[in-house]
Amino acid sequence: MSQQCCGFMFQRMALCVALIGLSSSCARLPYTTKVVHEDARVVVVLKQEVKALIYSHPVQLGPAELTDILQGFSFRPKQRMPLRWFAEENPPKPVFRPDELEALTGRLSEGLRAAGPGERVHFELHAPGLNPSLSRDVVGGWVAVRESYLYLTLEYVHVQIPIRKADLYDYNYPTPPPPPSEYLLYFEPGRFWVADQQGVSALDYRAFLNAPKIGASPGP
C-alpha cells in the first residue's frame, strides 16, 4: 500500500483519538461511594452527585417517620406523547406496599444517617422475577434531604432486571439493566407536595411529620 494511503489512515486514527479524548469530559453519572446495606431483599448505597448539589445530610429520620412519609407516595409511569393522553386516565398507584416499607425503611434511615452533603441515598427492593433464574423484580430509586425538603426519585417500579451480565440463554449477548424510567410522583395529603426554591417537586417533610395524623384504614 502506498505511503500516502497509510498517512491518510493514521491522520484519521489521530482524529479519532482526539475526538474520544475531548469527549471524555462529557456527561457522567453519580457513582457509588459506600454500600450501606445489601441482602437478597434490600440494597441501600450512597452515590456521589456529579453536580454540585448540597444536601442536609446526614439526617436523622427514623423508620417510623420514613414509613409515614413513603406510604403517602403514589406514581404513574411518565409516558411520551401520544400515549400520555391515555395514561392520564389511569389513577396513580401506591409506590410501596406495607411489606416493602417494612423491609426498606430501617435501611433507608441508616443510609440517611450515613450520607454526606454531596451524596444521595439509593435503594433497591428485590423480589423474585417472573422467571426467577433470569431476572429479579426491582423497585428502586433514591432519596435526599435538603433543609425541610425530602426528594424522592423513582427509577424502577416492579421492573424485571436481569440477574446476570450476559443473557442466561444467549451467552454471547450482554444484558445491561434497563436505564431508569421516568415516573410522575404524587403525595397525599397534597398540600405537603411542594416546589423548592429551584422549582423541583419535593415533600415538605417537616411540616408533614408535624401535622396531626389521620387514622389509617384497616387491612393491607
Binding site: 475526538l19 456527561a27 417472573l130 451480565k165 450476559a166 387491612g219
Partner: protein, 571 residues
C-alpha cells in the same frame, strides 16, 4: 426448512399462543406485577375487600377475622391459578409448570443503507485473492470487480430466536434461525439454522454445551453482532475464526460459568468444517488405483506419482480421506477487574474498572483447500469448504492442497464509566501437508514438473484495537477502530488495513434498539502469489485450464470508503 415444516412450525406457535390467552391468565390476576408471594397480596377482589373493610369498621367482624379471610383468599387464589405465565421482557416469555419449562421467543432485525466508493483498481482488476468468487460446478475463480459507486439497502440481520430451559432452569436450549443476506450477496438468502444447541449448567464449573454454535475462541466472534460498536465486524476479525471457515461449528464444549469464577476456561471439540456440515463434505479425487490422484478427463494429474498408470477413468470427488479429523479449541480468560463480558463498549456505565484478558488456541487439521491434482484450485472438489474460505477472506489459501490450521489469539478489554478499549491479536500457522512447492506446470500429462509456484505459502497474522466513549451515558457513543491483517507473511504488498469510525445512538439505553452510522476505509493490497490467479498459471503443455492471463495482471491497492447507516431492533 421446507415449506411444510414452516407451516407446521407456525401452527405450533399459533396453538401455543392461543392456549395462553390473556383471559385464562388474567383470572388469577397474578401477572399484574409480581411473582411468588408478592403476587397474592393484591389478588383479592376489590369489591369483596371493600365490603370486608367496612365490616371491620362497623364491627361486624373483628380485625382477626378480616386477616384470616384475606389470607385464606390469597391461598385459594394461589391454588387455583394455572402454573404458567406469559409476559414480554426482551422477548415473548412463556413459563410453564412453575418455571420448569421456559420459552423465550425473540426477533432481531437490522436494516442497512450503504453508500460505497471504490477506487479504479476495483474496476481494473478487482479482488481475486482474498475474497474471490467461486463460480460454476468447478468453482473456477472470478475476481470481484465493480464500479466506483454503490448505493444499497440491505436486510442485514433477520433472525428468530427460541431459547429457554427444559425440565429445570439448568438444562437450556437455544435455537437461532437466520434469513438475511450478506451486503454483497449475489443471490437471495434463505432461512438457515445458525444455532441449535443445548447446555447443561447443573455444575457451575462444568457446563456442557453440545450442538451447533459459535466457537468460544476469539473475543470479537464470541460477541453477538447485536452488541457491537460498529455496523460490521472488521474484515480481519472474520478471517481468524477457529476453523478458518466460519465462526460457527458443530461440536461440544465444556466450560465453567463466566459470571461465577474469575478465571474461565473453554475446551471444545468440533467437526472443524463449519455449520450444518461435517468432514464428509471434504473430498479428493482418486483413480481406481489406490494412491493415484484423479480428477480430470484428459489424463493423469501431475506430478503423477511413480507407478501410477495413465488415466483409468474420469473420477472426481470420490475419496474422503480426512473424515477422522476433528478440530480442538481451548480458551482461557481471566477477569482481572470486575466482569467486562463480551459486549463491545461500556453500555452499563461501569462504576468500577472492568478488565479482562484472554487467550485461545485452535488446531484444525486436514482442511482441503483443493484436491492436489492438475487443475490446482479449480477442480470439482470441496466447493463447500473453498467457498467458506473465500467468504471469510482466506482466499489466498485456496489451491494449497490439504493444510492444517494452527491458530493463536490474545485479547484484552477494559471498560470504565462509559469508556472502553478492546484489542485482539491473531496468528495462524498454515501447515501444508504437501511439503514441496506447488507444481504449476508440466510439459506433458503426468510428466515431471517444469514450473513451480514462486514460493511457499506463509502464515497469517492480524490485530485490531478499538475504543469508544459514551458522550451521553447509555445513549450516545462514539467509537473508532483500526484493524491490520497480513494474509500471507511470505508475500509483500498484500496487507489489509481498515479504519472505522462510528456514531451510535442506543434508543432505549440497551443494545436492543440502535441506530449506527459507521464510516469505513479499507485498503487491500493485491500483492503476493495466489494459485490459479497469479502467474505462473496452472498448465499442462499448452493447455491452461485457468486461462492464460492472471487475474492480478493489473493489481493495485484496492481502496474502499463506505458509510453504513444501520437501524437495528432486538425484540
Amino acid at each position: 426448512m421446507s415449506r411444510r415444516a414452516q407451516w407446521c412450525f407456525a401452527g405450533w406457535i399459533f396453538l401455543l399462543v392461543a392456549c395462553m390467552t390473556p383471559a385464562w391468565a388474567a383470572d388469577a390476576g397474578r401477572l399484574v406485577e409480581k411473582d411468588g408471594k408478592y403476587v397474592f397480596v393484591e389478588s383479592m377482589d376489590p369489591a369483596t375487600k371493600l365490603l370486608l373493610q367496612r365490616a371491620v369498621k362497623q364491627g361486624t367482624i373483628t380485625q382477626e377475622e378480616y386477616d384470616n379471610v384475606v389470607r385464606e383468599s390469597q391461598e385459594r387464589t394461589y391454588l387455583l391459578q394455572p402454573s404458567f405465565k406469559a409476559w414480554y421482557d426482551r422477548g415473548f416469555n412463556f413459563s410453564m409448570n412453575d418455571n420448569d419449562f421456559f420459552l423465550k421467543i425473540r426477533g432481531r432485525f437490522s436494516f442497512r443503507y450503504t453508500q460505497r466508493y471504490r477506487n479504479e483498481a476495483y474496476r481494473e482488476s478487482g479482488d481475486s485473492k482474498n475474497y474471490p468468487e467461486l463460480l460454476g460446478v468447478f468453482g473456477d475463480y472470478r475476481a470481484g470487480r465493480s464500479g466506483d459507486q454503490a448505493s444499497t439497502f440491505n436486510l442485514r440481520t433477520a433472525r428468530i430466536y427460541f431459547m429457554g430451559h427444559l425440565f429445570n432452569p439448568d438444562f437450556k436450549y437455544y435455537v437461532q434461525l437466520a434469513g438475511e443476506t450478506a451486503e454483497n450477496a449475489q443471490a437471495p438468502g434463505a432461512l438457515s439454522v445458525f444455532d441449535m444447541n443445548v447446555t447443561s449448567t447443573h455444575i457451575p464449573w462444568l457446563n456442557v454445551q453440545v450442538g451447533q454454535y459459535k466457537v468460544y475462541f476469539n473475543r470479537s466472534q464470541i460477541n453477538s453482532t447485536a452488541s457491537m460498536q460498529f455496523a460490521s465486524r472488521a474484515l480481519a476479525m472474520d478471517a481468524f475464526t477457529a476453523n478458518g471457515l466460519n465462526r460457527r461449528d458443530v461440536g461440544i464444549t465444556i466450560m465453567n460459568d463466566e459470571e461465577v469464577y474469575p478465571v474461565t476456561y473453554y475446551l471444545g471439540v468440533f467437526n472443524g468444517a463449519g455449520p450444518l456440515v461435517n468432514r464428509f463434505a471434504q473430498f479428493s479425487s482418486e483413480e481406481p488405483t489406490e494412491g493415484c490422484p484423479g480428477g480430470q478427463t484428459g489424463g493423469n494429474p501431475f506430478p503423477s506419482p511413480a507407478g501410477c498408470p495413465t488415466n483409468q477413468r474420469n473420477l472426481n470427488a470420490n475419496l474422503r480421506s480426512n473424515v477422522n479429523q476433528l478440530m480442538y479449541v481451548a480458551r482461557l480468560q481471566a477477569n482481572i477487574m470486575g466482569r467486562a463480558g463480551y459486549g463491545e463498549g461500556d453500555m452499563a456505565y461501569s462504576e468500577t474498572p472492568q478488565m479482562v484478558v484472554g487467550g485461545a488456541y485452535a488446531y484444525n487439521p486436514g482442511i482441503d483447500t483443493s484436491t492436489n491434482n492438475a487443475f490446482v484450485g479449480i477442480d470439482l472438489a470441496n466447493l463447500s469448504v473453498r467457498r467458506q474460505l473465500a467468504a471469510l477472506g482466506n482466499g489466498h489459501m485456496l489451491g494449497q492442497g490439504v493444510v492444517d490450521f494452527s491458530t493463536w489469539t490474545l485479547d484484552y478489554a477494559f471498560k470504565y464509566r462509559g469508556f472502553s478499549l478492546q484489542a485482539e491479536y491473531w496468528f495462524r500457522n498454515v501447515i501444508r501437508q504437501n511439503k514441496e512447492l506447488p507444481c504449476m506446470q508440466t510439459a506433458v500429462v503426468g510428466g515431471p514438473c517444469t514450473v513451480f509456484a514462486p514460493g511457499q505459502f506463509g502464515n497469517a497474522t492480524g490485530w485490531y484495537v478499538q475504543s469508544g466513549y459514551y458522550l451521553i451515558p447509555r445513549k450516545v457513543e462514539v467509537a473508532a477502530r483500526y484493524a491490520y491483517w497480513d494474509p500471507d507473511t511470505h508475500s509483500g504488498g498484500d496487507l489489509i488495513k481498515q479504519v472505522d469510525l462510528s456514531l451510535n445512538w442506543f434508543l432505549s439505553g440497551t443494545y436492543d434498539h440502535q441506530i449506527m452510522v459507521t464510516y469505513s476505509n479499507v485498503a487491500m493490497g493485491q500483492g503476493g502469489f495466489a494459485i490459479g490467479r497469479s502467474a505462473p498459471l496452472p498448465a499442462v503443455g499448452a493447455t491452461f485450464p485457468s486461462g492464460t492471463v492472471p487475474l492480478d495482471a493489473r493489481a493495485g491497492t484496492l481502496i474502499e470508503n463506505a458509510i453504513r447507516v444501520q437501524y437495528q431492533i432486538f425484540f
